[in-house]
């Protein structure tokens, strides 16, 4: 069981690096969507026995993260008429390096954390830390608003991974609530992206500095 879990999380960590390294927006979105699907399978794997509610939640998660949100983002992308992240704050190779260092650091830190014995052997904690870190790097290192939304979503994936640790004590209903929040958040951000595009003729968030004060 643990090997399946670790395989899935390792896949997600690889997708992190893919998201960091690609300059084209559709591939970032795709990486994020695949990561969402991979993570959506986790509850089923972790709970061992088959429960209907768990399966339902996993299905909904996969649906929203793998298809719903990416579809919203693609629409916003088309509306704003942008394809690529052209001038990132942190270049693609440095981002990749940062991501790799972050992943190694996450594994190193996780070994020192006082974890419960049943989590000690899995990649759950390092994976969560690495994914959150990747999200941060994307948020900080990208200029276009849509890339930042992707960063935000990847970070959320990391938080979701952390949530897996508490799967036995947190009702899945709470998870579903978080998911709903997330969808609404992305929806709102999609609208905001559209507005930024109209007001500034660009999605470059650096131009937002004129709004200060």
């Amino acid at each position: 069981m643990n090997s399946t879990l670790n395989l899935l999380i390792g896949l997600a960590m690889g997708l992190n690096l893919l998201a960091l390294g690609s300059s084209r927006l559709p591939s970032v979105i795709r990486a994020m969507a695949v990561q969402g699907v991979v993570l959506g399978m986790l509850p089923v794997v972790i709970t061992r026995e088959f429960h209907w509610p768990v399966a339902l939640v996993a299905l909904v998660t996969m649906g929203v993260k793998g298809f719903g949100i990416p579809a919203l983002l693609r629409r916003a992308m088309r509306a704003a008429n942008i394809e690529r992240e052209i001038e990132p704050f942190i270049g693609f190779v440095p981002s990749l390096l940062l991501g790799a260092i972050g992943t190694i650091a996450a594994v190193a830190v996780a070994q020192r954390l006082p974890l419960l014995p049943e989590h000690a052997g899995t990649l759950l904690v390092p994976g969560a830390l690495a994914t959150i870190f990747t999200g941060f790097v994307l948020l900080v290192g990208r200029v276009k608003a849509i890339s930042q939304v992707c960063g935000y979503l990847i970070m959320e994936n990391g938080i979701y991974l952390f949530g897996m640790l508490l799967l036995h004590s947190t009702p899945l209903l709470v998870e579903s609530g978080i998911l709903l929040d997330l969808t609404v958040g992305v929806f709102v951000i999609g609208i905001i992206v559209d507005r930024i595009q109209r007001a500034f003729d660009s999605l470059d968030t650096r131009k937002l500095t004129v709004l200060r004060e």
Partner: protein
Amino acid sequence: MLLVALVACVAAIVPGPRWPRIWLACMVVGTGSILAAAVAVFAGAPDWEWWSAVRVGGERLHLRLDGLSAWFMALLGLVGGLGAIYARGYWPDDAHADSAARGRLWWGVMILSMGFVLLSSNGLHFLIAWELFALSGFFLITLDRQRREIRAAGWLYLAASHAGTLCLFAFFAALAGRTGSWELGPMRAHPELGPLFWLAFAGFAVKAGLFPLHIWLPSAHANAPSHVSALMSGVAIKMGVYGLIRFSGWLPTPAAVGWTITGIGAATALLGIALALAQNDLKRLLAYCSVENVGIIAVGLGGGLLGAADGDAGWGRLLLAGALLHVWNHGLFKALLFFAAGSVLHATGTREMSRLGGLWRSMPWTAVLFTIGAMAVSGLPPLNGFVSEWMIYLGLFDVVAGRSPAAWAAMPAVLMLALAGALALAAFVKAGAVVFLGAPRTRVAAEAHECGGSMRGAMVVLAAGCLAIGLAPAVFWPAAGRAVAAWNPPWAAGAPPAPLPTLGLANAVLVTLALAAGAGLWASARARGLRRSLTWDCGYASPAARMQYTGGAMAAIAVGWFGWIFGAERRQRRPRGPFPAGAHRIERMPEAVLERLIGPVAGAVMQVAGAARQLQHGRLQYYLVYLAGGLTALGTLVLVGEMK
């Protein structure tokens, strides 16, 4: 009586801005009843205490009118009412269309809030009233807010005032924390409260304008409209004095307080008057002179504290009574002087003494009243300034003669007060001579006109007050005795410790002699006729008004003695050669404490703040980095803590 005052003042505030006459009537009734309430206490009515049924801010209002409050209430009633009358002529609606209405509104608020400060016997309400009083002062100072230096003076006042209020907040909160209630009252039985007095001292000293904390005072008093200056100088800074006296009476004070207040008071008196002497701005001169007088009052209070600690009733009582009487006297003559200065400003539009001169002919009333005020402030008999300063001197001499340890404070204080007195005389000779004597230096001075009836009336009442205290000081003793008893009950016992009736008699004789001499001169001049001619002019052919002594020249020697502390800035070009083309000499007196000490410190703070503002640039990505950095730091902290 106080209810009438409250109703009248509120009635003045509400319709005041629209109807000047109703406002004036209400104000006069209100301040008159404040005065009457105070007089009733002096006449022997028992102390008045009142608790409200409703709670304000969770506390019941607790008002208390005892001898000490009544002493300051009387001053408030008198100067507040006369200032309202004076404002009618000085700041009329047709000349100051919008600010006159605002002025009336805030005048009412200020009188009311000061009254509450004096009556309030609950720390919370004291603070509320104090804050309201400080704010209304700010709005009154900046009535004419179009001018930049007035706004600057207002902000400086507000900042300094709030620095003081901060100390008071700390003081009252700590007091309430230690006693368990906001109620104020005599607490001498709790010696552990003693150190708190230092906080109160700092807070009230800012308001009173004791030396290093006087920075706000000169510019605020000089730039405010003159009736406001009179109220600020005559009454508002006395609120600080009231606080000092009140809480030094209620709280057990540490032994060092008496020494500190005496020392700071003496230094304030000397430096204040030396700075006054150096000024060219008439109202700024008066403002610095207020600093000096607060110093004199502080010497008296410090002496009283030393006396209370020493247990010797005689001189402590005399010094405290002198300080209290000087509070009244300074309120009277400084209001008179500010009114007179306002009258000059009203007539000529300038406060620069070097642009005035020869006003005695065109403004005889103002000139005579200014001279009376100047004599009083210089401590010349037969006026009131002499009486109170004499009491303080007598008290200090007693201390020195008594050879108690306090003599070490009293001896230098006497010397410094004596020097300050001489300099005060010099300062007012300079002011009076440059403004009123000689020939007009500019056209505005030549075209001056006498002030109107309401302004003149207010000044005459104040001058009469100065003369009355000078001629019959014994009449006012019972009131002072009552106030002293409220400060320290064991000192309640009767007779004045100084021969006040004799002093009154001597003053009366002096007045009679002066009047007789004046009448004699007048008669002889009438009989023989006056011969008018030029003064001896060294054979110079065409004397001009510019050749008169300037104020700066008159004060130059005495100012030179204090050069080490003022550091006057000079720029000059001496005349060269047999036919010099041009020469000039410009002197400027910096506000030493403000510009050399507070300015640089404030500048450094602003620089750091400006640098920190660079962090707030509006770039989302950097904000996220801050966030990530903060989170990582917190995480590391937790992790390290766990490992330990």
